[in-house]
Amino acid sequence: MGVLDYLRGFRVTFDKLFEERVTTEYPEEKSPKPDRLHGRHVLNRYEDGMEKCIGCELCAGVCPAKCIYVRGQDNPLDEPVSPGERFGYIYEINYLRCIHCDLCVEACPTQAITETKLFEFSFTNRSDAIYTKDELLVGDDGLPQNLPWEDWRPGEDVATSAWMRATSPAGDADYVGTVGWSGELGYGVRAPEVGQFGEDPEPPAAEVDPVDEGGHH
């Protein structure tokens, strides 16, 4: 233990002056968001513009934070909102409660509700935190609405519904890479993840012997 040990330690810190910076100038500069990121939700439409939500309330039932409120109604015969019998005429998510677990996304049988990559938004009062259908429903171009209090970056509104696609095989290897979802307005039918069978052709290595005794440092 000598003076040199002190200096060696300080050198580690000093050397960092000349290394590349790892921090970013948030919020001007943001680190890229992965596809599966759970952000605020959107309510999707079919390619013909019909709403996907059928008002079945599965999402509300599974939500552990109890933050979804849905009411279904019979479709008006002359001007149906969704294909089928019913549609969700009230749809509310309280973002003061939502924990972004995305169980609602996994539960929705029609892929009506999926997640975007947006999580940077704030409110000035509690009722603004409750998103209704007006805010959640995708626009006529199929893209999520860019609401004035949300900080969207270019490209972020394109990456929606990756978690729905990631969980869609439900752990069944036979369904990896199978498209189990319908097309969406603005996106069409999206491609599945490559999955475990596409990633690398080499088979897993042979098993090693279970060797296991406590070691010491």
Partner: protein, 434 residues
């Protein structure tokens, strides 16, 4: 009483009182009033008189909201008592309201520095009640993620331990590396923390495309950084003097207090559930259980640092052995059907609705499942009444039980070492209070 320099550094031989002394009595609280001198009266502090101070609950070094009542004689801590409950959120009770399907969203928030371990313990308990065998790929994915989580948790410890002891650059270094691991988690589960990824029956999703490259990158990136830590901290005389001989615990005390994890191993007792009661596929990988010699804060630091290395060794083996196939148990009653099945099969649709509304029923019985979390033995005890919700959910939180050794560690130590002691116990208050 006077303190000379020797006492501060060579604390290994310190005498320790019996537990009756250590247990801070109710009267300690009452005495707080006595010590406050009446206004206007000069209060002479006799030499052997002690003073009570409260450290926390909002103190930067108490890792959240831990409050410590300290009885001081001069700079010396005579007795101490941790006071908990400031972060109590009733998660165990909440667990009775949530179905087994939703349960992981709740338990994952207990030890927020190692959320995947909570999910794993809970899932293992539920699976045992259900009598399910998890597919191999799920097992190995669980192992991969929990080992990475152990690394991120220990890296967080490196950061906070450095910060608590004044090595501020270490704080930034630790977070920098942890961020890299969390970035991988974000790719896998969509969330940096509180993943809700390990579920009863398997894992929520397969590993994302390109995961192998990401993990290999981590395995390349972190070892040189750990060597940096060695230069910056392990070999640094300031660091050594600050930690060596501080907060000594011996094996007998640790066992009597139920202490587990790096704290127990620092006393030289090689107890690691991964090796001693193997779960997942730990019997198929090779790793060493790192133990200490002196049971002091330095050993605990060194153990955690080397456990990161051991975890990387395990991760490298997992990369070679990752099997293919199902990653969630294919039991219609537990796992929802693949999305493609919903439209074509009425039966699948019904199962889908049933699982997502009322959840799946679990046979009556009680079960305890334990895993080796970065902090020690993390157990989950569930009593099921046959419904879709646990009748009682109880977590054995290593942080809470390890916290019980704080009065031992601190007794007759300097108040300046109190911070080192709290830090080396590495408690996560979310888990302590639940």
């Amino acid at each position: 009483m006077s303190l000379d320099h020797d006492q501060t550094t060579d604390a290994r031989v310190r005498e320790r009182g019996d537990s009756a002394v250590l247990r801070m009595s109710e009267s300690a609280l009452a005495q707080l009033g006595v010590i406050d001198a009446p206004a206007g009266v000069a209060h002479d502090l006799a030499e052997d008189e002690t003073m009570f101070i409260n450290m926390g609950p909002s103190h930067p070094s108490t890792h959240g909201v831990l409050r410590l009542m300290l009885e001081l004689r001069g700079e010396m801590v005579v007795r101490s008592k941790p006071v908990i409950g400031y972060l109590h959120t009733g998660m165990e009770k909440q667990g009775e309201q949530l179905s087994y399907l939703q349960g992981t969203t709740n338990v994952t928030r207990m030890d927020y520095a190692s959320p995947l371990f909570n999910e794993l313990a809970f899932s293992m308990a539920v699976e045992e009640l259900l009598g399910l065998e998890v597919p191999p790929r799920a097992t190995w994915i669980r192992m991969l993620l929990t080992e990475l989580n152990r690394m991120s948790s220990h890296l967080l410890f490196m950061a906070t331990n450095g910060m608590d002891l004044g090595a501020v650059s270490m704080m930034i270094f630790g977070w920098r590396e942890r961020e890299e691991v969390l970035r991988f988690f974000e790719k896998v589960s969509g969330l940096r923390m509180n993943h809700n990824f390990i579920r009863p029956g398997g894992v929520a999703a397969d590993l994302p495309d390109g995961w192998r490259d990401d993990v290999l990158r981590l395995l390349e990136l972190i070892p040189p950084r750990l060597d940096e830590y060695d230069t910056l901290m392990t070999g640094q005389p300031i660091w050594q003097e600050r930690l060596q001989g501080v907060g000594v615990l011996n094996t007998a005390e640790a066992l009597a207090l139920g202490v587990t994890g790096p704290l127990l191993r620092s006393t030289g007792y090689a107890w690691d559930l991964r090796r001693d009661m193997p779960y997942l596929a730990y019997d198929k990988v090779e790793f060493d259980v790192v133990v200490g010699t002196y049971g002091d804060s330095f050993d605990r630091y060194a153990i955690r640092l080397n456990e990161i290395r051991e975890s990387m060794r395990i991760v490298a083996q997992i990369l070679d052995q990752m099997p293919k196939g199902d990653y969630r148990v294919q039991d219609k009653k537990v796992t929802p059907p693949p999305r493609a099945r919903i439209d074509e099969s009425m039966e699948a649709l019904i199962h889908h609705f049933k699982i997502f509304t009322e959840g799946f029923k679990v046979p009556e019985g009680e079960v305890y499942a334990a895993v080796e979390s970065p902090r020690g033995e993390l157990g989950c005890y569930i009593v099921s009444d046959g419904s879709a919700h646990p009748y009682r959910l109880r977590i054995r939180p290593p942080s809470l039980i390890n916290l019980q050794c704080l009065p031992y560690l601190m007794q007759n130590g300097l108040i300046a070492d109190a911070v080192a002691n709290i830090s080396s116990v590495d408690p996560i208050m979310g888990e302590v209070d639940r």
